[in-house]
Symmetry: C2
Subunit: 348 residues, 2 copies
C-alpha cells in the first residue's frame, strides 16, 4: 500500500481557472454563445485537466486490459472462459472491434494481460499477469489484498510508461460484468438487481445465477464499502484494478482518461474512492446497454458522452468518444472568430 | 407541381430483405450478438437504403443551405439578418464550425444560397436564390406556392447533380427556427409553446414575441396540415424547402440522408409528408438543445444518433453523426469473424 499511497499523493486538483479563458475564446468564435454544447464542455475539461488553455490532443492511446474470473464457475457468462485469451490474440492481430475503432480514431491500442487464466503465446501484448484468473468470489476473496494493490499500481505504471495526450480504458474478460456489478452495488448502495444485466447475453436463468452469485460474494466476503482495496480484492478483478490504475496514472500525468463502458466504470468507481480529485480527470464515454449503467453514471455525477446501445467493452465506446473530443478540439483550434470572418455579433 | 410529382414517383421502397444478410454477417464477427447496438442498426439502414449488403460509404457531402426570413421583423432572433450572408462567406472561407467538422469527417461542404436577403459577392458557393428572403408570414404567406415547389425541386436537383454515398443536410438562416417551429406545430399537432425555443439565444421577451409570431402566422395563413406545399409556402423558408428536396433527391438516388438539427428536421417533416417511403431514407443525426426537438423526433419515430446539446445548425450535428456511421461501416468491413480469429462462440 505504501507504493500506491505515494502515487496518490502526486495527484493535484485540475486547474479550474483556465476554463474561463477557454470559454472566452469559444465565445469569440462564429456561432451563437454556447451553441456547441457538450463539445464546448469537453474542451474546457481538456484544458482544466492539462492546466493550460492550449491542451494537446493528438496522441491517443487505448489500453485494453484482459483478465479472467473464477466466478464463471457459477454459470454467470454466455461465453466460455477460453474466449478471453483468444480475444487477446484477436486484439494483437487487429481484428477486434476496438482495433477497427482505434484505427478510425487515430489511436494506438496497448493490450495487457493483467490476469488471463492461461499463458498466451506470441508477442504484441504486454504481460503483466498477476495471477491465472481470480478465484471464485462466492467462496472467498477473489484475490489477495497485495494482488489488488499490485493491479492498481500496474495500471498506474502502464499510464506513466506511455506517452499520450488522452487515454482510453478498455477491458476483456469473460465474466467481468459480475465483479463490476458487485463493486457498483457496494459503493452506490443500489440493489444488486438494479445494476446487474445480461452481460454478453445470458438468459433469464443465467441472470438469476449471476445475481445470486453477486449477493453471495458480498455476503461471504463482507467488503467495506468505503475501502476501495477491500472491495477490489474481495469481489473485483485484475483488469478492473488495472483500469482504476490507468485513471490514476492519467491524473498524475494531468491527461484526460476516457472511461469505456460498464467494466471500466467499475474501475472508475475504485479510482474515485481512492482519491477525491480523480473525478475531475475522467469522462464516461458512453451509456452502456448493460442494466443499471445509467444509475451508476448518475451516482458518479457524470453524463456519458454517447448513447449508442453498446455493450461490448474492449474500449470501443471510449474510442468513439475520443473522436468526439478530437472534433471538439479541432473546432477550438480551427474556427474563425467574429472579427476574422467579419460576422456581426449578437444584438445587445 | 408536375415536376415535383415526377420526382416523387421515382422513389422506391428500401430493400428490407437485405437487413437479414447484413445481420448474419455482423453476427459472425468477434463480439457478443448485437453488442454494437446502434452501430449495427446504422449498418443495416445503410444496406437497406442502397439495396445491397455491400453499401458504399466513402463519399460524403454536406449541403449547407442558406435563406433569410421576413419574420425577423417581429424580433424573433438574437442576431441581425446581415449574419446570414456573412456566414455564407465564412463557409466559403472554411472558418465556420461545419467546415471544421466536415474536414474532420472527410466530407465536402456544398454551400447554396437558396434565398439570402442580399446578393453575396464572390465564388465558392452555388447561387440558387429563389428570392431575397421570405416575406413576414405574420402578414401573409412567406412565399408563393410556385416558389415553395421550386425550393423543393432545387434541393432534389442539388442531390441529383452531386456524387455521394451519404448526404448530410445543413442550414443557415437568421430567424429560421421560427418557420421550423411553425411547420412542426402544424404537422405534429403539438402546441406552439411545446416546440418553440430560444434559437440562437433570445431572452424571455423575445421568446414571447416568437411564439406570438408563429401563432399569428398560422392564424393569418391557415395552412392545411396535410398539404406539405401549403405549409411550406405559407410559413416555411427557402432553405427548409431545399432541405426537404435534398432528402427526396437522396432517396431517389438510394443514398442515406443524415438530417442535422431543428431546422433540418422541419425539412424532413415536409419531405415525409410528400411521400410515405421517405422516412426510411433518413436518420436524425442529433437531438438538438432547441426546445421540443425531442417531441418532434418522437413524432417522426426517430431516435437521434447523438445527444450533445448542440444548437448550431449548418450541418454540424450531421457531420458528427456521419463519423459514427463511418465507424459502423468500418466495423462491418474490417472486423474478424469467429472462424478467422479462432474465437469460441456462445455456449448453447
Amino acid at each position: 500500500m505504501k507504493e500506491l499511497n505515494k502515487y496518490l499523493k502526486e495527484i493535484k486538483p485540475v486547474d479550474k481557472n483556465v476554463a474561463q479563458e477557454v470559454q472566452k475564446r469559444l465565445d469569440n468564435q462564429t456561432k451563437p454563445l454556447g451553441s456547441l454544447g457538450r463539445l464546448e464542455e469537453l474542451t474546457r475539461i481538456m484544458a482544466m485537466v492539462q492546466g493550460t488553455p492550449e491542451p494537446a490532443y493528438e496522441k491517443k492511446v487505448i489500453f485494453t486490459l484482459a483478465g479472467d474470473h473464477g466466478v464463471v464457475e457459477e454459470g454467470v457468462s454466455a461465453y466460455p472462459q477460453s474466449v478471453t485469451a483468444q480475444m487477446v490474440l484477436n486484439f494483437v492481430n487487429g481484428g477486434a472491434a476496438v482495433n477497427v475503432l482505434a484505427r478510425h480514431a487515430g489511436a494506438d491500442v496497448v493490450v495487457v494481460d493483467m490476469g488471463v487464466a492461461e499463458d498466451i503465446p506470441g508477442k504484441g501484448f504486454i504481460n503483466r499477469k498477476i495471477d491465472y484468473g481470480t478465484k471464485n468470489f462466492t467462496k472467498g476473496p477473489a484475490m489477495t489484498r497485495e494482488q489488488a494493490e499490485k493491479a492498481i499500481c500496474t495500471g498506474i505504471e502502464l499510464a506513466l510508461d506511455h506517452d499520450f495526450d488522452i487515454l482510453a480504458t478498455g477491458d476483456m474478460g469473460i465474466g467481468n460484468t459480475t465483479p463490476s456489478s458487485a463493486i457498483a452495488a457496494l459503493v452506490t448502495g443500489l440493489e444488486v438487481e438494479q445494476i446487474t444485466g445480461r452481460g454478453t447475453g445470458i438468459d433469464d436463468e443465467g441472470l438469476k445465477k449471476k445475481i445470486a452469485a453477486i449477493k453471495r460474494g458480498i455476503e461471504v466476503n463482507k467488503p467495506d464499502p468505503k475501502d476501495a482495496i477491500d472491495i477490489l480484492y474481495k469481489v473485483g478483478g485484475y483488469e478492473i484494478g488495472g483500469i482504476a490504475g490507468l485513471i490514476i496514472g492519467s491524473a498524475i500525468k494531468r491527461k484526460l482518461a476516457v472511461v469505456d463502458g460498464f467494466i471500466s466504470t467499475a474501475g472508475a468507481i475504485i479510482a474515485s474512492l481512492l482519491h477525491p480529485e480523480i473525478k475531475d480527470y475522467y469522462v464516461l464515454s458512453h451509456l452502456s446497454a448493460e442494466n443499471g449503467h445509467d444509475k451508476i453514471s448518475e451516482y458518479l455525477g457524470k453524463k456519458p458522452i454517447l448513447d449508442l446501445n453498446l455493450r461490448l467493452g474492449e474500449g470501443t465506446g471510449a474510442a468513439l468518444a475520443m473522436e468526439i473530443i478530437d472534433a471538439a478540439m479541432h473546432l477550438y483550434y480551427e474556427m474563425a472568430t467574429f472579427d476574422q470572418a467579419g460576422v456581426d455579433k449578437k444584438i445587445e
